[in-house]
């Protein structure tokens, strides 16, 4: 028992050291860390209240007072971007948690039970995958109505089949392993076999996929917010900030420019970190 724990620890250490050797992954990790810190400590970092409007300062360019300028309400753009990281990261993370909750469960059941159950679950997943992600999210959010929670549900739903597929694939490999057969032979319940022997072996691919899907979720969330289907004004959401900034593109381009850069960097951070994580944890996923 102790040996297997040690082995688990050393595998984790190998993966961690591989991750640290990967310059791209470290770069991505640092970007993600910066955004997480700014989201958590927003009230301490942001120079102004993100909702504090001051029409006298409206549409001002860069200055020592407002590093990234102000928007049409005179609100400080830097402060709104810092607070906006809270929204974008929550949209990305919670949407992926929703995908995980359903996708992992469906993938485990499909892969472990097999037969007709597998067939039915995977055909439903195929149908969901026949919808382009953005379209499915748009369809759901148009039905549920705009708002941050509906946005999370909409984005979370379209990644469910991707998680189900990956988990099912891992389960199919693990299911035939000798230690799973041994667990079955000693009469362990299916629930415990899945929980103790199968699920831990799927954690790597789930973690990698989650990191990469957070990037997609943030991008889609910003897109839907840009269309006015996410958090409503005056909430400091990057997509919504970009949308209001387009009106002033000619006279105050900074209003639309900086939120876009924030989206790009956080998405890039998750993408690069996810790639590194994949190389360290599960090189098979690379194909």
């Amino acid at each position: 028992m102790r040996n297997s724990k040690n082995k688990g620890e050393s595998l984790l250490r190998i993966a961690a050291s591989q991750l640290l050797k990967n310059k791209g992954a470290v770069f991505g990790g640092v970007i993600v860390f910066v955004f997480i810190v700014s989201a958590v400590f927003a009230p301490f970092i942001a120079p102004y209240d993100p909702l504090d409007s001051n029409l006298e300062d409206a549409l001002q360019g860069h200055s020592l007072k407002h590093w990234l300028g102000t928007d049409e309400q005179g609100r400080d753009i830097l402060s709104r971007i810092i607070y906006g990281s809270r929204m974008s990261l929550s949209i990305g993370v919670i949407a992926v948690l929703i995908s995980n909750a359903f996708g992992v469960l469906l993938g485990l059941v499909a892969g472990y039970v097999g037969g007709k159950t597998d067939n039915v679950i995977m055909r439903i997943m195929d149908i969901l995958m026949a919808f382009p992600g953005m379209l499915l999210a748009l369809a759901i959010v148009s039905a549920l109505g705009p708002g941050i929670f509906n946005l999370m549900i909409a984005i979370g739903t379209y990644s469910i089949p991707i998680f189900a597929r990956v988990v099912r694939g891992s389960v199919l490999t693990v299911r035939e392993m000798e230690y799973v057969e041994s667990a079955r032979a000693i009469g362990q319940s299916h629930f415990l076999i899945v929980l103790k022997h199968i699920l831990p072996n799927c954690v790597g691919p789930i973690l990698v996929l989650s990191t990469l899907r957070i990037a997609t979720a943030i991008l889609t969330g910003a897109g839907l917010s840009f269309l006015g289907l996410g958090p409503q004004p005056p909430a400091p959401e990057w997509g919504a900030m970009l949308s209001s900034g387009r009106t002033y593109l000619r006279i105050a381009p900074w209003v639309a420019t900086y939120p876009g850069l924030a989206i790009m960097f956080v998405v890039m951070g998750f993408n690069v970190f996810g790639d590194g994580l994949r190389d360290a944890l599960d090189p098979r996923l690379k194909t």
């Binding site: 026949a130 919808f131 382009p132 039905a143 549920l144 990037a215 000619r250 876009g260």
Partner: protein, 306 residues
């Protein structure tokens, strides 16, 4: 090949039902009574009852779904709440604009993506390789609507080279096509690079080199041809995504396509149009993927055998 085609088409039947099922349920997921939504805010109780009867909304849900499928088969998807015109006419009128934008975008994306991928792979670990892949990383990470606005800012507002919005001649197409195609170009570049790197290590490529052929002939005549097989699939899939993903680009550039119509209809709670647009785009996506699959089977016989 015929068996492969038939098998693929049969496999689409459940997908088609699923797609119609989802688009059907959009109306039923929305808060409120679908008949009231379809009738509009100023409708009388008689109007609401008439709509309920016309669309079978007083019947059980599965029967309603059957009626919906029947109506869809007959090209009847209801009437737009905004314009009172048949939904199918509204959506079809916008379709050519979306198709035009997606086609030009995928052509631009394929040319740029292929060139970037080939240059990166044939100069592996050089500045060209790193440069191409960094550009691809930026392209994949940036929001397309932001890229659209930035292109508009520089090329329309500052330089005045291209019109900022609307549909017209080729000049109107340039900025939306670049904006929409950039992410696809990056995906194609990455795929071309990895596929070419794999092929370049094959024995027959080494043999071509050993025969004394120039690197140019080895890469373009021997390696690229085989490396292109998976890339063509990616290109086709990207075309499907572009057809559906133009919602944002069309909104930025006021491009009068199905995506913009969908967004306008969501704002106006014009659910029959939203339903029809989603169904059309999803069916389109499925059909494009089918064509890509069949094309892949045609150019790569191993798939047919499998």
């Amino acid at each position: 090949m015929l068996r492969h085609i038939i098998r693929r088409i049969i496999s689409l039947i459940p997908v088609f039902f699923g797609v119609t099922f989802i688009s059907f349920f959009i109306l039923h997921l929305s808060p409120g009574d679908p008949a009231e939504l379809m009738a509009g805010v100023e409708a009388s109780q008689e109007d609401i009852d008439a709509i309920r009867k016309q669309y079978g909304l007083d019947k059980p849900l599965l029967v309603q779904y059957g009626v919906y499928i029947k109506n869809v088969m007959h090209g009847d998807m209801g009437v737009s709440l905004r314009t009172q015109r048949p939904v199918i006419t509204e959506v079809w009128a916008r379709y050519p604009a979306t198709l035009e934008l997606a086609t030009v975008s995928v052509v631009v994306a394929s040319i740029i993506g292929l060139l970037m991928g080939i240059i990166a792979a044939s100069h592996q670990n050089s500045i060209f390789d790193y440069g191409s892949m960094v550009v691809a990383l930026f392209s994949i990470s940036m929001p397309i609507f932001w890229l659209g606005l930035m292109l508009m800012l520089f090329f329309s507002v500052y330089l005045g080279w291209f019109p900022a919005v609307g549909r017209g001649g080729i000049s109107h197409l340039v900025l939306p096509a670049i904006s929409l195609g950039t992410q696809s170009a990056a995906v194609i570049a990455r795929m071309t690079r990895s596929s070419l790197l794999e092929v370049i290590r094959q024995d027959y490529v080494q043999t071509a080199r050993a025969k004394g052929l120039s690197e140019r002939v080895v890469v373009y005549k021997h390696a690229v041809r085989n490396a292109l097989i998976p890339v063509i699939t990616v290109m086709g899939m990207q075309f499907g995504y572009l057809l559906s993903g133009s919602v944002l680009t069309e909104s930025v550039f006021a491009w009068p396509g199905v995506g913009r119509l969908m967004v306008q209809s969501i704002y106006a709670r014009d659910y029959p149009v939203v339903q029809a647009a989603i169904l059309l785009v999803a069916v389109n996506f499925v059909l494009v993927n089918l064509l890509v699959d069949l094309l892949y089977g045609y150019i790569n016989p191993r798939v047919r055998v499998e």
